[in-house]
């Protein structure tokens, strides 16, 4: 929910609460003062009524002028007098029916011709109700109008005042530490926003600088490692050239050679990962996936045959936009993974269609959690020669080019699905 909506909601809630209180207070105040007027009127009627009653025949209920007068003989005269609101059923001429109307009833004891009576005078308060209603409607209507106006003004001002803030947010959304340009935050005359922008500028600048230095460090480190590796490797080649070494020497040389090779691979794969992260593959072209898949499978034929793996394919043509070198890496890694993590006499099922590539292979169950297979250096410890970077590379490529990749471990097989 937007801040503006939130604050408006509070405004509205509290305004309504206050309006309700005002309306209630107004209602009671008006009614009190109107009742008070009526009560005075009723009290003032006592004298003329006494004269009127002594001059006419008495009945228990009489209508004199607008008032309804009720008489009740009592034995003892008291000084008590009460005012109360009541509803009395009277005949409405316009509606032609009986209906209740509000009355103010004044009860007191008095002597009529020396006989004590309890006298009640009731006076209709319908008009009072009408007045109260009208006043309330006018007041509440006015208040609501006021509320609406305030709210609109508030909204307009907020949008104007918060504009720099939204500009800043948009800049941050578009910001990436990888980009070389600094974000341009919109200037603001509001102190808080100017402060925020200044701090953000400092932060983003530092982020970019640190990211850049880290990137350069990684790049330089990887490049610097290449030279000593080359020296080790070359001298190994020279050692191997000397004829007639004992077998033990060869075995040791082989171990060194393997380790050096592994180190070289590791280094260059990491370098490739950083390159993908930094978008250093600008030359994307249209790549036909099914053809490339067939080509890769062709290259792997001997390995597939050695493990006695059956490959089943169902390939529909699909063209994607990707640097060819990365398309190569992507498919190579997925396919060699499906073969490496397979069992002798196993199966690989490759389906390409509807912008989706599914590679399913039989193989021993994986010890890793499903989402961890894409992490760097996560690998099944039973496979010593694996670098644990293959799927990390795949994931990085997918992330960069907006493909969705998912790994599932099925009952006896593994499935990687890639949504282009």
């Amino acid at each position: 929910m937007k801040l503006l909506q939130r604050s408006s909601r509070y405004y509205l809630f509290f305004s309504l609460l206050i309006f309700a209180v005002i309306a209630l207070a107004l209602f009671y105040a008006l009614r009190y003062s109107l009742n008070h007027t009526i009560d005075e009127l009723l009290v003032n009627t006592r004298q003329p009524l006494a004269r009127e009653l002594s001059a006419r025949p008495l009945s228990s209920r009489m209508e004199i002028m607008d008032e309804i007068v009720e008489l009740q003989p009592i034995s003892v005269l008291t000084n008590r007098q009460t005012f109360r609101d009541t509803l009395i059923e009277i005949y409405d001429i316009e509606e032609a029916e009986l209906e209740f109307e509000p009355y103010r009833k004044y009860t007191y004891d008095a002597l009529i011709d020396d006989i004590p009576y309890r006298i009640s005078i009731s006076l209709s308060t319908v008009e009072n109700e009408d007045i109260i209603r009208t006043v309330l409607v006018v007041v509440i209507g006015g208040l609501l109008l006021f509320l609406l106006a305030i709210n609109l003004l508030n909204r307009y001002l907020s949008i104007r005042l918060w504009k720099p803030f939204y500009g800043t947010v948009a800049e941050i959304k578009a910001f990436s530490a990888r980009q070389s340009t600094a974000p341009a935050f919109p200037p603001s005359e509001t102190d808080e926003f100017a402060d925020l922008n200044q701090e953000l500028e400092r932060m983003t600048d530092q982020m970019q600088r640190e990211y850049d230095s880290l990137r350069r460090f990684t790049e330089n480190a990887s490049h610097e490692i290449q030279t000593p590796l080359a020296i080790i490797r070359n001298h190994l080649d020279i050692l191997l050239r000397t004829p007639d070494r004992p077998e033990q020497d060869y075995r040791n040389l082989q171990r060194i050679s393997e380790a050096v090779s592994r180190l070289g691979k590791l280094n260059r794969t990491l370098l490739l990962l950083t390159k993908i992260e930094h978008d250093q593959f600008p030359d994307a072209t249209h790549v036909e996936v099914s053809n490339l898949l067939r080509e890769k499978l062709e290259q792997l034929t001997s390995t597939i045959a050695d493990k006695g793996i059956t490959v089943t394919t169902d390939l529909a043509p699909l063209t994607i936009f990707l640097p060819p070198a990365l398309a190569d890496v992507l498919l190579n890694n997925l396919l060699s993974n499906a073969i490496r993590h397979n069992q002798v006499g196993g199966m690989v099922l490759i389906t390409l269609g509807g912008k989706q590539l599914i590679i399913e292979n039989t193989g021993p169950t994986n010890q890793l959690a499903d989402h961890k297979v894409f992490d760097r250096f996560r690998k099944d410890s039973t496979l010593g020669d694996s670098l644990g970077l293959g799927l990390a590379l795949v994931k990085e490529i997918c992330a960069r080019y907006g493909y969705r990749i998912r790994y599932e471990q099925l009952e006896k097989s593994h499935r990687v699905s890639l949504q282009f």
Partner: protein, 224 residues
């Protein structure tokens, strides 16, 4: 054949020079760009190996001027910086090949041989070893006159062996040679075994002697 090696790292320069000298090449080594300009201004070379990152400048600058002045010289860039841009730039400037460090010396040797074959005009294009004849132009292989059908990997493997006879070639080196630029992206040592096995079988079946010898698990050696 004369080779000029421009490499600032002494250890690397000495190993390359010693390996190539043993193959009968005449190798001269300089460590700086200035030295390279000096040497190449005076002598003729058949092949120049240039490192890009030199203390006094980029080897790329040398490529263009070498190409202008020595048409016959083959140029191979050896660089620790395996960047696509450098590769494209180098090849655009007239380099014949690009080999990222770290490389196997056998690989360098094979590249020099291939370059030499491409550059030579005196009919030495056919490679011969015993009864085996390889025609790189047609990419065909015959044993005692009859054609042997090889896959691309097997053909590349054969050329690699022929470029490095009588030497132990490690499995890693073979793997990288066969998988080219993607070598580092794959753990594919195991696939070499079947390629070697198939090549050996095809050649022997066609009537050639078995020249491929395994060397204690470290690799292979092509010899009589």
């Amino acid at each position: 054949m004369k080779i000029l090696l421009i490499e600032d790292e002494p250890d690397l320069a000495s190993s390359i020079s010693s390996y190539l000298s043993a193959d009968g090449y005449l190798v001269e080594t300089v460590r700086t760009l200035a030295g390279a300009y000096g040497k190449s201004g005076v002598y003729e070379y058949d092949c120049v190996l240039i490192d890009i990152g030199l203390p006094d400048g980029s080897g790329l600058d040398l490529v263009a001027s070498l190409k202008r002045e020595h048409h016959r010289a083959g140029i191979i860039i050896i660089s620790a910086k395996d960047s696509i841009n450098d590769r494209i730039n180098g090849l655009d400037l007239g380099a014949d090949d690009y080999l990222p460090k770290p490389f196997h010396l056998a690989e360098l040797n094979a590249r020099i041989r291939a370059l030499q074959r491409r550059k030579s005009f005196d009919g030495q294009r056919i490679i011969e070893f015993g009864k085996i004849l390889v025609n790189p132009v047609e990419q065909s292989v015959t044993v005692a006159g009859s054609l042997v059908r090889l896959t691309r990997s097997e053909y590349n493997l054969l050329l690699y062996f022929l470029a490095n006879p009588n030497r132990v070639i490690t499995k890693e080196s073979v793997a990288e040679h066969l998988s080219g630029d993607n070598a580092d992206l794959l753990d594919r040592i195991d696939f070499i075994y079947s390629h070697v096995k198939n090549l050996r079988k095809k050649l022997v079946d066609a009537g050639a002697s078995d020249y491929i010898h395994s060397v204690y698990g470290v690799g292979y050696k092509w010899s009589q």
